[in-house]
């Protein structure tokens, strides 16, 4: 199954690149092109990791860490 999903993701990313990048080059949106490539790269890598069951750092944990000083107060409110 892992190979199938990796294949699907690669095909998807390639198709999106083929469709979108020439349009952006034509309109001279170089900044958009950079951000597009970075985001699509991040998304593809994340999706490949996910299909290989590699543990991806969870953003919820980070937000929980930011608000951990307030955890006790929240416990008293939600009791």
């Amino acid at each position: 199954m892992a190979i199938m999903s990796i294949l699907a993701i690669s095909v998807f990313s390639t198709v999106i690149c083929i469709v979108e990048i020439p349009k952006m080059l034509e309109q001279r949106l170089y900044r958009e092109l950079w951000i597009f490539c970075i985001l699509l790269g991040t998304g593809t890598v994340l999706a490949v990791f996910k299909s290989l069951d590699v543990e991806i750092p969870n953003p919820s944990d980070f937000i929980a860490w930011v608000y951990s000083p307030l955890a006790e107060t929240m416990k008293s409110i939600t009791k």
Binding site: F12, S13, I16, E20, M24, L29, R31, E32, I35, F36, L39, L40, T42, G43, T44, L46, A47, K50, I56, N58, P59, S60, I63, A64, Y67, L70, A71, M74, K75, I77, T78, K79
Partner: protein, 366 residues
């Protein structure tokens, strides 16, 4: 940047959707866990408490016509502090954008299609959201105009059909533990129905023609959302009782399962499920639009539609890893979501409001 204008009725429906969209089926349980059988009093109080917050949002928008919230933040707080505040604001949009598919996937996978893996449902949902955002805000607004009618009709239908099962004993004793749990409950409720309205600030001043009429639409939309939430919570407590409502994950769904009118009108729970998936879809679209537009304005992009598809991919992967299990989700919502929503939905607009007034005062004095 596109400058499409939406009508005031559309603003009304978008506000209503942003306020109750994400929470209408799950919220009764969190409130009933705190306020028990008095949960309905909390639901009655919350719209009143929310008025000042909504007024601040409206006021900020009316002072900066034609700008989105990220631009307003940057204009008021300056470049550096403004960037930090904008990052925080975009982070909450992104967080909600991958929570919404998680909730839909979890709901469908646990209640309706247990053999389907949740990520298939997330995938379908995200495809719909990405297509909606690619069509642009005008299409989203028009869709919400229609959906709000569906939601109203279906909610009223559910309430009418379930009303033979009402037991008024479930409301007694009123105010058993005094007012304190009621206020705590309405704080929790405001984290779900008042503070998410700030997400609408990406649309409200930028795409509105008539700002004086917009005030009415925003308040009406908010009150409408408060009303829907109120009847949902009231009916849950009346039919199921405070204790059962508190331990359920999707109390409104079970409420609809209680519908039994003769032998014809039974098993109508997918009325509620359908309503909820519609509102979740609108909520998901709104937050995803806000996140993408906010991110592209923060990075100084000319066309936000170029990054919609890659962002959709990231959101899709994130929606599968965000909550590993239900216990984690309940703890996270109780301990983290509330301060997080309060910071971005209440403290941030309040800060902008105060700084705006000070700046205005300095200008007048000099």
């Amino acid at each position: 940047m596109e400058k499409m204008k939406i009508t005031n009725y559309q603003l009304f429906s978008l506000t209503a959707n942003a306020a109750f969209g994400g929470s209408v089926i799950v919220i009764a349980s969190a409130i009933a866990a705190i306020a028990k059988q008095d949960a309905w009093i909390s639901a009655l109080l919350t719209p009143i408490l929310g008025m000042p917050v909504i007024w601040i949002c409206w006021f900020l928008g009316s002072q900066y016509p034609g700008l989105t919230f990220v631009e307003i933040i940057k204009k008021i707080l300056g470049r550096w502090i403004g960037t930090i505040a904008a990052v925080s604001y975009i982070s909450i949009c992104l967080t909600l954008a991958y929570h919404v598919p998680w909730y839909v996937g979890d709901f469908v996978a646990t209640q309706a299609m247990p053999e389907t893996p949740p990520y298939v449902i997330n995938l379908l949902f995200m495809i719909a959201v990405v297509i909606a955002v690619l069509y642009g805000i005008e299409t989203i607004a028009r869709a919400s105009e229609l959906y709000i009618l569906f939601v109203l009709v279906l909610s009223v239908l559910t309430v009418v059909l379930v009303s033979p099962n009402i037991k008024f004993e479930n409301l007694q004793p009123v105010l058993e533990n005094g007012m304190a749990p009621v206020f705590k409950g309405s704080y929790v409720l405001s984290c779900f129905i008042i503070f998410p309205v700030v997400l609408l600030m990406m649309i409200y001043p930028a795409n509105i023609d008539n700002l004086s009429e917009a005030k009415k639409s925003i308040f009406k939309g908010f009150l409408f959302a408060g009303f829907i939430t109120f009847i949902t919570i009231l009916m849950s407590v009346l039919v199921l009782g405070g204790k059962i409502t508190a331990i359920l994950k999707y109390p409104t769904y079970l409420l609809a399962k209680e519908i039994r009118l003769g032998i014809i009108f039974t098993r109508l729970e997918f009325i509620v499920a359908g309503t909820w998936i519609i509102t979740q879809f609108m909520m998901g679209t709104l937050v995803f639009y806000a996140a993408v537009l906010g991110l592209s304005q923060l990075l100084g992009l000319k066309d936000h539609k170029k990054i919609v598809i890659p962002m959709g991919l990231i959101i899709l992967v994130m929606s599968e890893i965000v909550f590993p299990d239900d216990i984690y989700q309940i703890n996270w919502v109780n301990l983290v979501w509330m301060p997080y929503a309060t910071t971005n939905g209440f403290i941030l607009p309040l800060l902008l409001f105060i700084v705006h007034l000070i700046k205005k005062g300095i200008k007048k004095a000099s």
